[in-house]
């Protein structure tokens, strides 16, 4: 095999190609979306949401407190017992189709707003987040009037009011993952977007108004962790769905203990991306890059541990570093940007702390030598080699653009190492041998396994974890189960 590591990457200059922000109009201040309208928070408190690429405030949003949660849950209950709960499935379906269509029509606006509030590259919000969010509503719209055929009995029933708490890494997409199946099955919702990324959820509230959903069917409460806690603990909520860290997921499972409320959890991960010596290495390198540097590594199913067969480890690392040299880090709104901003100061601190631990524990650090903008939160793509299984960077979720590289000799060793974390969300396999793909896929304790690809998502494809990565599935027919009772 010819090593290409000595060949310098082509020196391509890119002119700036920023997406215009004219398409988005951001209000200076937002209320809470309760009962179909924006209302001021009871306590009158607001906080700023920042553009992580500039640290400039974009708007201020309301801090929902317990009285607001009470009010939103009551509005959702009224809608459940009234206008939404009384609708036949075919009517619910049409409302969801409307939402999907408006999302498609306003997709550019959503993409720009998502990149502004989250820091992710416009290429990703435009090509991944927003189209998938629309597709999710479109997919579940079609289930609303077919539930008796879904395999949950002849007359499956909704649960009632769903309390849904979502993270900041895919703000609109996670809202779609939560709302679409809940609404299709006839539930009503109280959704709490993440503290640092509330704006696309608030724009979605406007879309929900435009689609004409009965007031109270969807309520959106912005706020911090305390808002989420109040929602999860609220006795008027029949079902809780959470996506976020394993640590918070465990707290929620404890809070729900003994209440009989239905719970689904989509939590953290530390996925192994396993590369065998017979893999198409250039494709594998693309998959490794997509696996861990997509969305700055703010992905619960990110391929954050590269397990590479010892005989090709040096080659793969060389090619990987060379490929990383072509990545462009910077303005999220630039259409050529590959790596955007880290979502928050807090997350940047966590990535910095864990990376420092990697060095202290003896792993070898390599970071892309690229200029970082003066303002904003940034972290260069980073690769740790000589990582041992006991290192924190091999066990803990970093949720940033940091890859830990471990090696293996035999398939059995690859499986043992891949499964050696408390998580079990996802995994990748790279090999040309079909039988080995399925042999590996059977043994990897993970809810999603990508073979010769990585980070693919589809509304028809169930997503969710084994073990401490949570329980329940989102997407596909399986995604209905979390919102239906017998």
């Amino acid at each position: 095999m010819v090593s290409t590591s000595s060949v310098a990457p082509p020196d391509w200059d890119y002119a700036p190609a920023p997406e215009s922000t004219d398409v988005v109009s951001i209000a200076p201040s937002y209320g809470l979306f309760i009962g179909g309208e924006f209302v001021p928070p009871a306590a009158g408190r607001h906080f700023a949401t920042l553009n992580p690429a500039t640290e400039q405030p974009l708007a201020e949003v309301a801090q929902a407190m317990e009285p607001d949660v009470d009010r939103a849950v009551a509005a959702a209950r009224d809608a459940y017992q009234g206008a939404w709960g009384g609708l036949p499935g075919r009517e619910r379906a049409k409302y969801l189709y409307r939402i999907a269509r408006v999302l498609q029509e306003r997709s550019r606006e959503f993409a720009v707003l998502e990149s502004l509030d989250n820091g992710k590259p416009i290429r990703e919000s435009r090509d991944v987040d927003i189209p998938l969010a629309a597709a999710h509503f479109f997919y579940y719209a079609g289930w609303a009037d077919k539930l008796e055929h879904a395999g949950f009995g002849p007359a499956p029933r909704p649960l009632g009011v769903a309390g849904q708490v979502i993270p900041w890494n895919f703000p609109l997409l996670m809202a779609a993952w939560k709302l679409a199946p809940a609404l299709a099955t006839g539930n009503t919702c109280v959704l709490k977007p993440a503290e640092t990324t509330p704006l696309t959820a608030l724009l979605l509230a406007e879309v929900i108004q435009q689609a004409g959903l009965p007031p109270g069917t969807v309520n959106i409460l912005t706020g911090d962790g305390a808002t989420g806690q109040a929602l999860v603990a609220h006795p008027g909520v029949d079902k809780i769905a959470f996506t976020g860290s394993t640590e918070v997921g465990k707290e929620i499972q404890r809070a729900v203990a003994g209440t009989g409320r239905k719970l689904t959890l989509e939590l953290g991960g530390k996925a192994a991306n396993v590369v065998f010596d017979d893999a198409p290495l250039d494709q594998a390198v693309e998959g490794i890059v997509n696996g861990i540097f997509f969305n700055q590594g703010h992905v619960c199913c990110a391929g954050s541990r590269l397990l590479v067969q010892e005989s090709v480890a040096d080659t793969v690392l060389d090619r990987l570093k060379r490929r990383l040299g072509t990545l462009r880090l910077g303005d999220p709104l630039d259409k050529n940007t590959d790596i955007g901003a880290i979502n928050s100061r807090q997350q940047l601190d966590k990535i910095t702390e864990l990376s420092a631990a990697g060095e202290q524990e003896g792993a070898e650090r390599w970071s892309l030598a690229c200029p970082l903008p003066d303002r904003g939160y940034w972290f260069p793509p980073t690769v740790f080699s000589r990582v041992s299984q006991a290192h924190r960077i091999a066990q803990e979720e970093i949720f940033g653009p940091v890859l830990s590289v471990l090696t293996f000799r035999t398939p059995e060793e690859a499986v043992a190492k891949a499964n050696n974390t408390p998580y079990g969300l996802s995994a990748g396999i790279w090999t040309e041998k079909g039988s080995r793909i399925f042999w590996m896929a059977q043994r990897l304790r993970a809810g999603v396994v990508w073979a010769n690809t990585y980070n693919r998502f589809d509304p028809a494809s169930p997503f969710g974890g084994y073990r401490e990565s949570g329980f329940g599935r989102e997407g596909g027919r399986h995604g209905l189960a979390g919102y239906l009772g017998a």
Partner: protein
């Protein structure tokens, strides 16, 4: 002519032990407790399992996991069917035990045992079918072959229903092992003997040691250990008293266990009704595999 020399034959009583890793053992603690019939008559001294016995049972269940979950579904189905064959041969014994435990007459007992055997046969047919019901080929919008398949959750702790008729016992245990999990069953505290007799059937059938482990003793002592155990993947709280449920569910959050039978009173459960798939699906994970399509 009567044989004047004949004595009334003294029956040989059974020692009821724990069943861990395919072997019958007394509790490592040396403890036992009296099990009585409805009128207070002594039926046996059952082993009073310790927390250490519970941990040993989890170890045995974990050890049995690769073999049992890795067996073909056809094989698991045959192994389970074989259990039904042996149960059938011992049906009189189970009915007799049910009568001695009290509360029901011989006819009702025989009927319950027959229903339990039929329930076991029902589950024996599921291992090679459940994937076709709960799996899927997903039509994703791209050149990918995308399959969802069910896989066993792992080691499942079961708190058996207090009633502990053989039917109730079979109804909670069979779905767990039919789906390829391994089990640590805490028998009904008041009526544990049927569970041990069932273990004797399992031991002499083709079920590998460790796939089912049976503990007798105090549920309040054993359940918290299993609920908090970091190598138990799921827990069925059917036999938990309502007052203990919240605490056990809280403990289960330590490693994000799947909890079955939360928030429902199972004391009044009618076990004679044909079950739903619920008890199987509760202990299955869905794995989705993406594979590109190309030349």
């Amino acid at each position: 002519m009567p044989d004047r020399g004949q004595h009334a034959r003294l029956d040989v009583r059974k020692t009821y032990k724990l069943f861990i890793g395919g072997a019958f053992a007394r509790s490592e603690s040396g403890r036992s407790y009296p099990v009585t019939g409805r009128r207070g008559d002594l039926l046996a001294h059952a082993a009073w399992a310790s927390r250490k016995d519970a941990r040993d049972a989890v170890l045995a269940a974990r050890k049995a996991m690769p073999g049992w979950s890795g067996a073909t579904a056809y094989n698991r189905g045959q192994v389970l069917y074989r259990v039904a064959e042996l149960l059938e041969g011992r049906s009189a014994q189970f009915a007799d035990e049910a009568v001695r435990a009290g509360g029901i007459g011989p006819a009702r007992a025989a009927q319950q045992v027959a229903a339990a055997i039929d329930r076991w046969v029902w589950y024996a047919g599921w291992p090679d079918k459940i994937a076709q019901i709960s799996g899927a080929a997903n039509p994703v919008a791209g050149p990918y072959f995308n399959l969802s398949v069910p896989e066993p959750t792992g080691v499942v702790a079961l708190l058996a229903p207090a009633a502990a008729s053989l039917l109730a016992l079979v109804s909670v245990l069979a779905p767990v092992i039919a789906t390829g999990n391994t089990a640590v069953l805490v028998a009904s505290e008041q009526a544990p003997l049927a569970a041990i007799s069932l273990a004797e059937v399992l031991a002499t059938s083709d079920v590998p040691g460790g796939v089912v482990n049976v503990l007798t003793g105090r549920t309040a002592e054993l359940a918290p250990v299993l609920a908090a155990h970091m190598d138990v993947n799921a827990i069925d709280l059917t036999g938990a008293v309502p007052a203990d449920r919240a605490g056990l569910e809280e403990a289960a959050a330590g490693n994000v266990k799947r909890v079955y039978a939360a928030g429902r009173d199972w004391a009044a459960e009618d076990w004679t009704v044909t079950p739903s798939l619920g008890r199987m699906l509760a202990f299955l994970e869905t794995k989705t595999v993406w594979h590109p399509i190309g030349t």
